[in-house]
């Protein structure tokens, strides 16, 4: 199956040149499900937090994007209560089969550094991020204390 080969290749490539802050553990006996830990960048509001992220590939990979979901609750305008993420390159209509999984991780790290209130999943959080950064920052810290 071509999806399996490509996923294996992604793992090999990742181990060759890992990204700081990202750790991947594929599920035992199932290459299609990855447990990922994401350490927030130091220059982000989420500094110090470690988030669990679940990555799930379908057999149509790389022709369809992988499902990437936060497993840890996070206070973020582009992540909803279920952990669903709004990132351009992961959208079905934006996905390109040549997108490397490292690019997805870079996009996640970027999302922590630069929340995107123009394309929110949670409009109230987006508004707060824009208009009341102090409260936003306080809530982010509270969530981290509670859930991470």
């Amino acid at each position: 199956m071509s999806s399996q080969r490509r996923i294996q290749k992604e793992l090999v490539d990742f181990n060759k040149s890992p990204i700081t802050g990202i750790e991947i553990t594929p599920e035992e006996n199932n290459l299609y499900k990855w447990k990922v830990t994401l350490t927030a960048p130091n220059n982000s509001l989420y500094k110090g937090a470690v988030f669990k992220v679940n990555v799930e590939f379908s057999t149509d990979f790389p022709f369809k994007p992988p499902k990437v979901v936060f497993g840890t609750k996070i206070y973020h305008p582009n992540v909803d209560d279920d952990g669903s993420i709004c990132v351009g390159i992961l959208k079905n209509e934006m996905w390109k089969p040549s997108t490397k999984i490292t690019e997805v991780f870079y996009a996640l790290l970027d999302l922590l550094e630069n929340p995107n209130p123009d394309d929110p999943l949670q409009t109230s959080i987006a508004e707060q991020y824009r208009n009341d950064p102090a409260t936003f920052s306080k809530n982010v810290k509270e969530y981290i204390k509670k859930y991470c």
Binding site: S2, F63, E93, K96, P97, S98
Partner: protein, 438 residues
Amino acid sequence: MDDELLAMKAVFEEDFTFEISQKEDSLATGTFTVHSDRLENDLILKLGNIVAGNEYRVNYLPPITIVFEIPANYPQNEPLKFYCSSTWVPNLTLLKIKKKLLNVWKNLKDYCLFEYSEYLKRDFLENLDICDNILCVNGSEGLFENIILYNKERQQKLFDEDWFNCGVCGEEKKGIFCIMLAKCKHVFCKECLNEYFTLLITEGSIENVTCPDFECKRIASKRQHKFLSDIVDFDMKQIVEKDLFSRFKNLQEKKKLEGLNIIYCPRIFCQSPIIRESTDEKLCICSNCKFSFCVHCSKSWHGYTNYCQIRNLESLVNSYLSENSEEKALIEKQYGKKNIEKIVFRYQEELKNKEWYSENSQCCPSCKAAIQKSEGCNHMTCSKCNTHFCYRCGNLINQLSPYAHFNDKNSPCYGKLFDFNSEGNEEWALGEFDAEIE
């Protein structure tokens, strides 16, 4: 046997053939076909004096062949006996090339076949009639076409032999199993392209049928309304099965028609697609940001009774007056039939006015008022600002000696104090005169 011959054979394979000679004074005979390297700059071919239509770009030129005989005393004491042949290089140029090759041996006094091949790969261009990257081809149209055909085949052959890393499966594949997409020049293996496009066409999401490259910009998403795929038909035919190709074309067509009923919110930060309930409805309200706008002019809603503001009158009138009935109907819908007819009438009237002015009047050089002369001499005084000027040429006239303009031999209006510059004017003047008599 000769080491040089064996080495050449090993490097150039089928392009190098030789036979051991039976004659006493020679070692071997053979032929050596040298293909040119990829040209650093594209060459534009020009056939004779014809430029337009017969201009083509090539990266590769057809080979030059050396037919040789190796004499017994080669290489130290005797040069290679040879002549050059080619389907496209003029004989005189071939002789020049031969001379250059002989010089190569003279300087080396050693084995020189490999040096010959180096010269014929690239440096031989110095002997050709090339100027500003244009290569003049002297010969028939057939020769011209052969050079172009050779270029194409050579490109394909080298592509087929090359290795590429497919960005989809991540594997190294030989070019013969790959396709270079015509528009963006990205290369992927046929297998991946086939699997990808087959999936997309089968499930009907043909708006995603674009180059799989991560960086490759999506034309489809950039252009609103119009559906556009960046995979050309020629590529697609090579990638997917016949029935999928026709399904792809059908879906594309369907999408184009559907596009008429989908409109995008004109607000730049929104741009949400909105499905129009009927193509006759002018008012559209964005379901996302609630912006109410007119589907024709994309400006905020101006009510049913007000028509869209006209932005470019001239082009609007011209397209309304053109033969295209479809366009005409669309304009009528947008601006109102009666309205547009009125606008066109006024526009044409205005145009006629301007024409009449330019034919029958002269502008005052200082206040620009259009002045018509009914009778008298060409020395005019503007009725508006009292400027003195010449009715013939429109130039200022010195108020103190107004007739100098007509008396000076160097003036363009010399001796033309009285003249009517067109018959129409005279008739008109007569008509006016008649009217007065009545």
